[in-house]
């Protein structure tokens, strides 16, 4: 809260700096703007940047590092008390201290050492905040002074401001790269720790998945087997079912929209289909779990087939419905991109419309359609909520769509939701699964985008 006030104050000061700088620039030439090198507003921005930017950067860095520093200092203060404790115990102690410091409820009645540490924690935090405020104030006033001193008619304010703005634009565009790097690094780092405990070959090729690790050495059950093949197979099964639903329907819908429908019909159907893509996946999950699943089980019972209420079929079918618009709108685009001359040529030879589509247009747009299907597959593999709500939890190596199977995303969610200790193989396994998921979808996307782009170039 205090930090928020500090930032607002800083922003207010920056605004003040802008107006003051502007006024000073105008005053320096007694109001005749033509004598300034840059417009007065650039002088204002010049001062504002000097005033606000360094302070804001320092505050941001400070906030990132302060917690860590404070905790380190607190722990070193009680170094005697924690000597011989394991890392887990220390982190537990630390969270107790933190809770005490913020006034939350603690798990146990605190020992005097913890109480003292909490006091120190609060003190250090307060000190840190005071130091940060001091640093910010010094930087803003220093910046203000420096910026204002520099103002004179010949100051090249515009080029300097523009250079900084360009730098900010560049930094903004790097954030996307940083996100990717962050994803890769965090997945690799945690997976690496997982593979320190579990053999990667066993993970990739083992047939037994039961990630319940024993908490105590003498516990029964929970052997912790991490062979992910059943999980991959389940993902594959549900994806295949989804594709069996989505590809024919999506493709035929795209063909109809591109080749047969009048512009009015098309303008009605296309947005209507896109509604399917706009519905949140949790809604599909609810629908699959509550309506489609029981429906299939009822149907199965009436013909004497044992259908699990969390069958792969229900989840796959609903996922297929969700994916229809991806297939249809991408295919629609590629079919529309086929040059009219190909159609005209085929029709002129006497082929019917459907013959033209099947023999000429589809082969000509095959690249694009394959790309669309690959993108849809990657979407299906990464889809989470439908399978979390409608598919099973236990890994089951089967190709029978009427049984319950589990998927990579379901396992990630079940392993990470709820109470967790961060170092166990069980939670780390989720990151290994996430890494596999990321790599597979990345490969599919790269191939698909390349295929689509290559195809586009062919007719451009």
């Amino acid at each position: 809260m205090n930090t928020l006030i500090l930032i607002i104050v800083l922003l207010g000061l920056t605004t003040f700096a802008y107006r003051y700088g502007r006024r000073k620039a105008l005053a320096s030439v007694e109001g005749s703007v033509a004598n300034l090198h840059s417009l007065p507003s650039y002088h204002g921005a010049y001062v504002a940047l000097w005033c606000g930017l360094p302070a804001l950067i320092v505050v941001a860095l400070w906030l990132m590092l302060q917690t860590d520093m404070v905790e380190r200092l607190v722990l070193s203060g009680i170094a005697d008390g924690i000597a011989g404790m394991s890392e887990g115990q220390i982190s537990l102690l630390l969270s107790d201290i933190r809770n005490l410091a913020t006034g939350d409820i603690t798990t146990r009645s605190p020992s005097p050492m913890v109480l003292a540490a909490a006091e120190r924690y609060v003190e250090l935090q307060r000190l840190g905040f005071a130091l940060m405020t001091g640093a910010a104030v010094i930087l803003t006033s220093g910046g203000l002074y420096f910026g204002l001193r520099a103002i004179q008619p010949a100051l090249r304010a515009r080029p300097q401001v523009e250079r900084i703005v360009r730098g900010l634009l560049f930094i903004a565009s790097v954030i996307a790269i940083l996100t990717t790097i962050g994803i890769v690094l965090s997945l690799m780092f945690e997976s690496n720790r997982f593979f320190g405990q579990v053999n990667p070959l066993e993970f990739l090729f083992g047939l037994n998945w039961s990630p319940q690790t024993a908490l105590r050495a003498d516990q029964v059950g929970g052997s912790g087997a991490f062979g992910a093949v059943p999980v991959f197979a389940g993902t594959l099964l549900i994806t295949v079912i989804a594709m069996i639903v989505a590809v024919p329907i999506g493709l035929m819908a795209a063909i109809y929209m591109a080749e047969y429908a009048s512009p009015t019909t098309r303008s009605l159907i296309k947005p209507a289909l896109e509604i399917l893509a706009g519905i949140p996946t949790v809604v599909y999950g609810f629908f699959a779990a509550l309506t489609i699943g029981p429906l299939f089980r009822g149907l199965g019972e009436s013909v004497g087939l044992p259908v699990a209420s969390e069958s792969a079929l229900a989840a796959g079918l609903v996922m297929g419905v969700m994916i229809i618009p991806f297939v249809s709108s991408l295919s629609d685009d590629v079919i529309n991109a086929v040059p009219q001359s190909l159609r005209d040529g085929s029709l002129a030879l006497g082929a019917t419309h459907s013959e033209t589509i099947r023999r000429v247009i589809l082969p000509a747009s095959l690249h694009g359609i394959v790309g669309a299907v690959l993108l849809a597959v990657s979407r299906a593999i990464g889809e989470t909520m439908i399978v979390v709500m409608a598919a099973g939890l236990s890994a089951n190596l089967t190709a029978n769509p009427l049984e319950a199977v589990t998927t990579v995303t379901v396992q990630i969610v079940t392993l990470l939701v709820g109470d967790q200790e961060f170092d166990s193989a069980k939670t780390l396994a989720a990151f290994a699964l996430g890494l596999v998921l990321f790599l597979v979808t990345l490969a599919l996307n790269i191939v698909a985008l390349r295929v689509v782009r290559k195809y586009r170039e062919e007719y451009d």
Binding site: F170, S186, L187, G250, L251, V283, Y284, G382
Partner: protein, 434 residues
């Protein structure tokens, strides 16, 4: 050799017969029918989905209420007559409500029967009564007819969701409860009124006291963070990539990277949030701040791609004219190109935000699945969002939560429709064709 050619010519001779032509036309009609069937199937599923949700959800907007004649006995509430708020808050309202129920059915006795009888009204009734007394202490020592919410099971019975004709042990209301309820109905002491609780309270274990307000506020806080981060950063990187970046390997890499990032499964962003924001930076779990950060990273590629498309559609003549009269490149962009591209960028942003609004999986990873009764008040309070609330309620075993889940979905869809409508209107109104 000649035989071979003659053979081929014979097989390739076109079949001009009417029968063959009819066959081809039939194939044509069939093919067209497949197309129509595909569209009908897709739209049929959409209608089925929406229909089933509206069917199950619409009843959650009403709530059964039971009228009881409550005697607000001073001895139970404020024995010393001080009207001190602290004393009023501690009154024995439960006993008053129970006495009022027993007054309706004086002949019921026995602990088990009485417990069933008390279960006609919601367990939150004492709280309702307390609030009434606290707002108007003058009511003490009078007898009032007050409408109390019925319990969720009675509510379901009244709405017909619990069938009366099954064996008693197979339903959640007993025969005796049905009898009492029917008697109350016959006395005109029951009604169905608009369920305001659903819109004004947070989550609860009791279906009749559960509402979506906490989730709606959580969603709003989360989306504010998402918007504050993803919009400026997205626009800035779109401007850089489209207007200033030199065309080289490095920018190619950024471009490929952004396209791929847009297709990364959302749950992977959740893993990123868990590993980086929670475990590395130690930000609070379940907080809208972290949820907003994760969703912002997820929405960023959408905003950048939409922004670049919008910037591209601004014709070069605008830039040339501005540069021609002496504007600097940055002035050209900020004074001319960006304002003209803004409608397109805003449309893309709204669509990206709509996607973020419906997103659930990454938020599960950062702990926004907790059961939270309080309505969040800041960006660091524990909160949940609408889609996650749907997920939580979908897991709840009570029958009454099914209709509330559907109703929450309807609220969620209403927000989505509003946002998409805004995007469409914006595009219609502001977008310029060059």
């Amino acid at each position: 050799m000649t035989d071979f050619i003659a053979d081929r010519a014979a097989t390739r001779k076109p079949d001009f017969s009417n029968a063959h032509l009819r066959k081809r036309y039939r194939a044509e009609a069939r093919f067209k029918l497949y197309g129509i069937a595909a569209i009908v199937a897709a739209l049929g599923m959409l209608a089925f989905l929406l229909g089933s949700i509206v069917m199950t959800g619409s009843s959650a907007f009403t709530q059964t209420e039971i009228a009881l004649d409550v005697t607000l006995d001073r001895a139970q509430i404020d024995p010393n007559g001080t009207l001190d708020p602290e004393v009023l808050a501690k009154g024995n309202y439960r006993k008053i409500v129970r006495d009022a129920i027993r007054a309706q059915f004086p002949d019921v006795s026995g602990r088990r029967d009485l417990r069933e009888l008390y279960r006609l009204v919601s367990t939150g009734s004492d709280f309702t009564l307390r609030q009434i007394v606290e707002t108007d202490p003058g009511l003490i020592d009078t007898t009032q007819t007050i409408w109390f919410k019925s319990s969720a099971d009675i509510d379901q019975l009244n709405k017909g969701a619990i069938p009366r004709d099954v064996v008693e042990s197979d339903r959640r209301v007993s025969d005796a409860q049905i009898g009492w309820f029917d008697k109350l109905s016959a006395d005109d002491r029951t009604r169905r009124s608009f369920n305001t609780t659903f819109f004004t309270s947070g989550d609860s274990r009791e279906p009749e006291q559960a509402g979506v307000l906490g989730a709606v506020v959580g969603t709003t806080l989360t989306l504010v963070v998402t918007l504050i981060l993803s919009f400026p950063i997205g626009v800035m990187s779109a401007v850089y990539l489209e207007e200033f970046a030199p065309k080289n390997r490095w920018t190619d890499l950024i471009e490929v990277n952004i396209n791929n990032l847009a297709a990364v499964p959302s749950i992977v962003f959740g893993l990123l949030g868990l590993a980086v924001f929670l475990n590395f930076f130690e930000l609070p779990r379940s907080a809208p701040l972290v949820g907003g950060l994760v969703l912002a990273l997820m929405t960023l590629p959408t905003v950048i791609i939409a922004g670049r498309a919008a910037l591209q559609s601004v014709p070069p003549s605008i830039r040339e004219a501005a540069l021609g009269v002496g504007a600097s490149p940055l002035q050209t962009v900020s004074h001319h190109v960006l304002p003209l591209a803004m409608p397109g960028i805003l449309t893309g942003t709204i669509i990206g935000m709509a996607r973020a609004l419906g997103e659930t999986a990454p938020l599960l990873m950062i702990g926004m699945v907790a059961f939270i009764v309080d309505i969040p008040r800041s960006f660091t309070d524990a909160a949940t969002v609408l889609p996650v609330q749907v997920f939580l309620w979908a897991d709840a075993p009570e029958r009454a939560f099914v209709e509330r889940t559907s109703a929450a979905i309807m609220v969620l869809l209403a927000f989505l429709i509003l946002m998409n409508l805004a995007a469409v209107l914006l595009r219609r109104k502001l977008e310029r064709r060059w």
